[in-house]
Amino acid sequence: MDLTNKKLILERKHKKVYESNDCIIKSFSKEHPKSDVFNEALNQARIEETGLNVPKVLAVEEMDGGWAIIMLKKNGKTLKEIMESDKENIRKYMDMFVDIQLDINSKSSPLLNRMNLKFGRQINELKELSATIRYELLTRLDGMKKHTKICHGDFNPSNVLIGDDGEISIIDWSHATQGNAAADAANTYLLFALEDKELADMYMDIYCKKSDTAKQYVQKWLSIVAAQRLSKHVETEKELLMQYIDVVDYL
């Protein structure tokens, strides 16, 4: 663990990410709850134990008055960068992307947070949705099959690193849960759709084919993951998300 020469590579409201020679330091602000930081480190440790190739957690320690997670650095370009620079082969990359997701889904980690509980909590807290819509969403969530597959929770090409030697690693496990893989796919679809509908549809086709899942089975989750996404309060996404959210199950 060599923290010398650390340089800031990303800054968000509640966190700063530094890079050193061989480490990544995720440093959270003073206001960020200590338990959240430990929880994220714990999540990541659990994922590590499944054998997936993820950054190894080295330490959680106090830093600049808040708490920080220090982990081993993974080298490589993000799949997002690669996809953008080599558009001709985009289908090939999408294939690879889906394969990685299915590999994640094939693993289990019995102590990881439960997806349905987390989603339920998040929907309940969404006060900008009317009681009726929340009721519909919770009813729908309640009726979904409860699996125990590992779901990344924010699986998109910017969280996949491809090393020079082709080594694939997956980063940012702060939203990981165990639950229904179709929800994770719906979430990924939505992340694509917020930027590029065509790419989103390509993803959906490939995912459904490879996983032998019916499209409507994934689509059933769209309203739920859209509501969950809404809790991030990104103003520009709101209109599109609301469209996905205000649907009804057959009455």
Partner: protein
Amino acid sequence: MADKNFIVDSIDNLSIKMKELREAQREFASYSQEQVDKIFYEVAMAANKARFLLAKMAVEETGMGVLEDKVIKNHYAAEYIYNAYKDTKTCGVIEEDKIFGIKKIAEPIGVIAAVIPTTNPTSTAIFKILLALKTRNAIIISPHPRAKDCTNYTAKMLLEKAVEAGAPKGIIGWIDVPSLELTNEVMHEADIILATGGPGMVKSAYSSGKPAIGVGAGNTPVIIDETADIKMAVNSIIHSKTFDNGMICASEQSVTVPDSIYNEVKKEFAYRGCYFLKKDELDKVRKTIIIGGSLNAKIVGQSAFKIAEMAGVSVPENTKILIGEVESVDISEEFAHEKLSPVLAMYKAKTFDEAIAKAERLVADGGYGHTSAIYIDVNQKEKLAIHEKAMKTCRILVNTPAAHGGIGDLYNFKLAPSLTLGCGSWGGNSVSENVGVKHLINIKTVAQRRENMLWLRTPEKVYFKRGCLPVALDELGNIMHKKRAFIVTDTFLYKNGYTEVITNKLDEMGIRYTCFYDVTPDPTLQCAREGVKAMTSFEPDVIIALGGGSAMDAAKIMWVMYEHPEVNFEDMAMDFMDIRKRVYTFPKMGQKAYFVAVPTSSGTGSEVTPFAIITDADTGIKWPIADYEILPNMAIVDVDNMMDQPKGLTAASGIDVLTHALEAYVSIMATDYTDGLALRAMKLVFDYLPSAYENGSGDPIAREKMADASCLAGMAFANAFLGVNHSMAHKLGAFHHIAHGLANAVILTRVMRYNAVDVPTKMGTFPQYDYPKAKARYIEAARYCGVTGKNDDEIFENFINKIEELKRIIGVKETIALYGVEEKYFLDTLDEMSEQAFNDQCTAANPRYPLISEIKELYLDAYYGR
């Protein structure tokens, strides 16, 4: 709950409310039918009167549907439900059959959790409350948040009316501030769930662990056949699809029309104000109605005009339905979904089969178990049958607007009126009918002990007396006018002229005959087939069996095969618990030939029994055939045919008669009718067998009495059946070749001792056999046969001694070993023999139901004489 401001908005308050509902329901459970009917009437009246106000509230609160149509729904829920159930018994004894001792008593279930949808927020509430009140249940309403005010208002108003009419206070409850948590809690706490809602809600209901009557999604496909009345079809569809802006779950979602009438149908739709979407408009509407594979909540229950406007399509304001002419029935086609609005998919089909295939797919993807419809000339029976078979829906409507037809009693008369339509297991429901009061009561059936009818069956004619054979045969010619007789007998009898009395008489009457005389002892199937061959070519109208059990059994089998060449022996040999309920139904006999049985030995009684045993020589399997169909039509007991029986036969068949009589007398199926026959038979055996054995034809009276005894015992066991003595003897014969009568005799008194206990391990099962009484029956028989003693036990012992003495006189050996059965072979086969004896048909009627281990002990005792 005195507090007027008490509301159900939390788990704690809900549990207080549930407690109150339970208390109210306990009181309600004691109400009489009259009290309940009065409440039912008053509440139905109140709901009816409030129909307009409630409709208005529903439309205002939900912003969905059509006020005028909602009035009809409320009206329907009040009036049709009242009318359908006003005279239905739902309290106490609802059905009674005194003759069969069956009574049905209706009891309430308890607290019903009623989940009310936003599409029918007041009518469904009225419907469920009326059903609950009629069945003496309490009900708690879980409204949809979008419609909670109008739903809860309905509940509150009807509660007031119910209480005014005498119902317990608090018999109806509701959730004031609905949430999924409270809905789930209600479903957990209630006794039964009446859930109306989408798949999510129905799933929650079923996973609550309480019995649920839930309904699911519909995706009603309609087919208009080329034989349909197009004007009626199109206008019915429009009528139904526009009703409450298409919010009834049975509403049409697609219509499939054959090529040949497509344009005509389209013209009629257009003429009646429906709008056909143009190409670019189709896509706009697609994107508006379905978002990410789910139905856009904003279009539900809206008008065609408003939906078009939302999609950016301009249509006339009075447009009735938006029709999309589409091709795919796959779920990726937005129009193929359930739309809950006046938006309809229209498909073109080249053939009727293609239309059916499309409808099948639409049902599979969105509406398993719900409703389907067809418009067709009802004389097209074949097409209707194809449609009925293909649709996995619990309602199949013919020439009927689906929304109005599915809810029942409006466009049809025997479909129950209901706003909760069961979708069967296809839709994940426990009910496949329209839900009604019968689904909300528990029915207790009180069944009193009854004994089934018994019988006495004998040949229609039993003739007896020495020398009666030609006299009896006279009937065949002079009364029945038979033309062709087929005689079955064995070689010995044939060669020694026993058939002559018969053939002379037949000659005299001009009846042509032929004789089959190759029957061997233990007759085989192969031998019977030979006989049938001859019979089939001779075509007799009367069969005369002359001989001992073998000839009569063989003739019975030939008779069956002659009349029914197609029968399978394995089927006919099927055992039974009650001969009337046997799995196999025996073919009708006597259509080709009349059957006459003339015994030449006094033992089997086969001339008056419905039994025959035949051996398949190829496999060695013995097929015991038992059915009253093979009961001979005429039995002629003429001792002239029996005079010269050898001594051994007299002994073996004589003791067989005694066993028949004793077993029939203690059988669980013995009746007063068979008792007389059995008692007389056994007394005759005791009195005459010794002399018949000693003197043979020298004592013709004894011979004749034994012939009568054999026939009497035969009639007794033909009706009361036998017991484990015969089961065991059958296997001694099969495994160790001991003659049947002797096999019976060697175990007889041991089996009697075994049966004669007041505390058997198990008792035989037959309702008229009410307690173990074999011992008392033996003693009764003993007294009849002249046995005396100072008490019952002594009489029983003396009876055993009397039988043992008889056995000695006629030379029956003491043990199985003495019959030359080798010890090792006996022990090697013992387990198999015991199991087979247990499984023998005769075991069923034994008064003591034997364990296999007990049979084994009996065999061992009889082998070693211990």
